[in-house]
Symmetry: C4
């Protein structure tokens, strides 16, 4: 008998946490959204030295509050979900776990342990931002669209990489005697990528006439081949849009005419009932 009210309580909690139809469900989502954003802001502010030294205590308390809230959320999600194992090993399950662990681990690592591991742990909290993707509607569609043109994009990227390695090596040959930053092939390849993608930092820039000539070729090339991924995605998206247009596949039994309008009841050619 005591089992039933408990189950009811679970079902209600499930509704609040996993759905957004009820008033409580919406409220939960809005609060969680703010906590996530606040959490990211705190991680960022902690890295600003002038700010962190001033408000160290405050940031620590806020971080503990957020960690406890995320822990409660994680526990409640496990309790209320039908298949906890599946949830725990799902993308969002792992993200939810990673959102809580770092602060607890930092508790054990404090003082004696290595500072680098501690900092890496602390920064891992930034992955909490992935919790946000739950709230972005078309997000999964978007990822799916990227996955669909994965093969073509891989070919394109391997093409860009091969190009950059060859061009970077040529530039290393041309510019390595100069004081222009082409000190090794990996650096030259890095420069080729910076140039081909039209980023152009300017930390490494050719100094010789020949180097500048080759650089110009790379730039124009980069300016031209940026068209390729765009073409891929554009044609992919246009194709998708076309598929959305519903077609009527009915064929008239009298005259075999097809391509009827979607809401056709009679054949537009002979007037026979479809």
């Amino acid at each position: 008998m005591s089992n039933e009210p408990k189950k009811h309580w679970k079902a209600k909690l499930h509704e609040i946490i996993y759905e957004a139809d009820t008033r409580e469900g919406k409220l939960f989502d809005v609060i969680l959204l703010f906590v996530i954003i606040a959490s990211i802001v705190i991680v960022m502010l902690e890295s600003v030295d002038s700010f962190a030294s001033k408000y160290h205590g405050l940031l620590n308390i806020a971080e503990w509050v957020i960690t406890i809230l995320f822990t409660l959320e994680y526990i409640f999600r496990i309790i209320t979900v039908k298949n906890p194992i599946k949830y725990i090993f799902s993308f969002y399950g792992i993200v939810d776990l990673l959102s809580t662990i770092p602060k607890y681990l930092s508790f054990f690592l404090t003082g004696s342990s290595s500072l680098v591991a501690l900092r890496a742990l602390r920064l891992m909290r930034v992955f909490r931002i992935l919790k946000l993707t739950r709230y972005i509607g078309e997000y999964t569609n978007f990822v799916r669209a990227l996955k669909r043109s994965k093969a073509k994009i891989s070919v394109f990227l391997s093409f860009v990489l091969i190009l950059c390695i060859i061009l970077g090596t040529i530039m290393y040959l041309v510019e390595s005697d100069q004081d222009s930053g082409f000190t090794s092939i990996p650096r030259s390849v890095y420069w080729a990528i910076v140039t081909l993608t039209t980023v152009g930092y300017g930390d490494i820039a050719p100094a010789t006439a020949l180097g500048q000539f080759i650089a110009s070729l790379i730039m124009v090339m980069g300016y031209g081949i940026i068209a390729i991924p765009t073409g891929i995605v554009s044609s992919e998206m246009t194709k998708k849009e076309k598929k959305k247009i519903p077609k009527n596949t009915k064929v008239c039994a009298n005259c075999n005419e097809d391509h009827h309008a979607d809401n056709a009841t009679f054949c537009h050619k002979c007037g026979h009932k479809l």
Copy 2:
């Protein structure tokens, strides 16, 4: 009786101000266009120290002349329009008011008041450029097109932002020991945005091999995902163009059904001959 000529005078002024069919209407538009552009040029020149100190008096007079002209325009627009309240709170009503106020307010703020507020006020006059949008024909179509793909673009931008926060944090972890400018996470995220969007200032640039490797990944990523907004807008525009293609405009005389197929001879709804 004295009311009628006044009304007539109002109607004529309305025609001059709001329409461009008559010779006076066109002249008004051309003059206003030049005054707006002159006004923007003056605001800009005032900020150039060498110029401002030399021609301070002249700029002040020009500014007063323009302010008075805009004030007259604003008053006449209110007088001649049918629904003044609606105009005052419309986009252009607010822009027209903002075009006149700053100079008058600067009159009261001079000397005693804070200089920052004064400068902000003075620079607000640059929003007068929004008055220009009245004269750009396809402008509203353009804004509408942007609004239509707002949802998709928001998803894309949130995707870019999440990516930049994660990548910026990783780069902070890798590069913060170096003297390469990654002094805090917000700065690293700023750098990630600068890199992903292929702007590449070079004020912050990775110094370690690992940092340059990650930077290369971000650049290639940025080079690739620029295709996505392009694909969105391209397919949106192609869709729009397609809608323009004239379709069968016949309407069934029996059931008033339209949207028949182009080669329809009979109504697809009731079988009546078209």
Copy 3:
């Protein structure tokens, strides 16, 4: 009688100069192409101080040879063309004239006249490169395509300009106290253009946190709205391609079926002769 052979000589020259069907015509084109490219290379080399001082005499002789060749070409074009006046005032007529004049004028200006005018004149010779456009096949199609989407591109550019003026002014307000290069509104607008177009020199870069935040917004905006001209041109080009597809507009006299294949002689529906 002496008029006829002369006319014949003129006609033959016209064929050589204006057409490329004969062996002489092709040879003329190839020689002219090389002379134009040589001419551009010489103008460029003259500007390289180390090179110009060393080979001054040689460059001068080469320049005179090229000028005389272009002068002869210009005279022959006028003599052989049917309507010399129309040619002289055409685009290529003006370009051909500008290709010869500067060197002659430099003869009169030497010594006594202003050096700036002389240098400007000398550099005008670079416009000889426009002579090359005669040899680029699809060039006029290309220019026509640009002209067709001129209206839309103008709206887009005015949108970009208004955005840059407003954003530049805001950045001036935020950053002008810093030593980061935002010394006046025009410079700030210049920076906004450099950033929005994703060029990103880095000669001016925001130093404050707020400035970097606004800069990030501008970059993401620029990254997004680059899609608009691409969308315009893409949909324009797709439209053009579609128009190229020839359609058969024949309708069967027996069954009124249309959309026949282009080479159809019989109706594909009822077998009736079209």
Copy 4:
């Protein structure tokens, strides 16, 4: 009799080297893939001074092992292929040869010969990366797609080049008195390319107001005309996708005409029933 097992051995080797259906064939491909990548990594690491001086001996041994492996592969490919001459002068034949030669030549050049030639030879080994293109599936399709739009892209690039030469010359006229890096026309043209392609290193940047104004124009132009190659490739790709849509594959039994309309019942050429 001894000839036949040898032939059999050749056929098996051919299967392993040229095909990937058998287990041995797959293993061969995977090993070759790793050897190629290892080879590229070694060439790159050799150029990093701190690394090369430390592990000079190790790198040399690894390089010899790889060279011998590539030599064996080259010999086996010649032996097993049906037409060795055709293979030797094919693209991959030359790439395979270039992958082995440099190390052997470096053996003869050591000490006495010029260092520059030696370094060039050593870097030539980076072209081994082209061996990778054998393993990228859609690669040839990709190259074909680029070749198809070669004419349009050439026109576009010549347009960009002419623009950059003219704009670079104008900037040289405007900025050459300043200390902003516009020291010669070739350098100014280089800057124009850097700016138009939105790379923007910042090593050369305009200092005068007029120069910055012209630079802004170039940037906006570059931002706009990047749409053109994108448009070309997009429409090319959309066209390609359309061709993929299956068409009526029926062939008339009477006249062998194909390419009938999708809903054809009778041959559109001779009227024969399909």
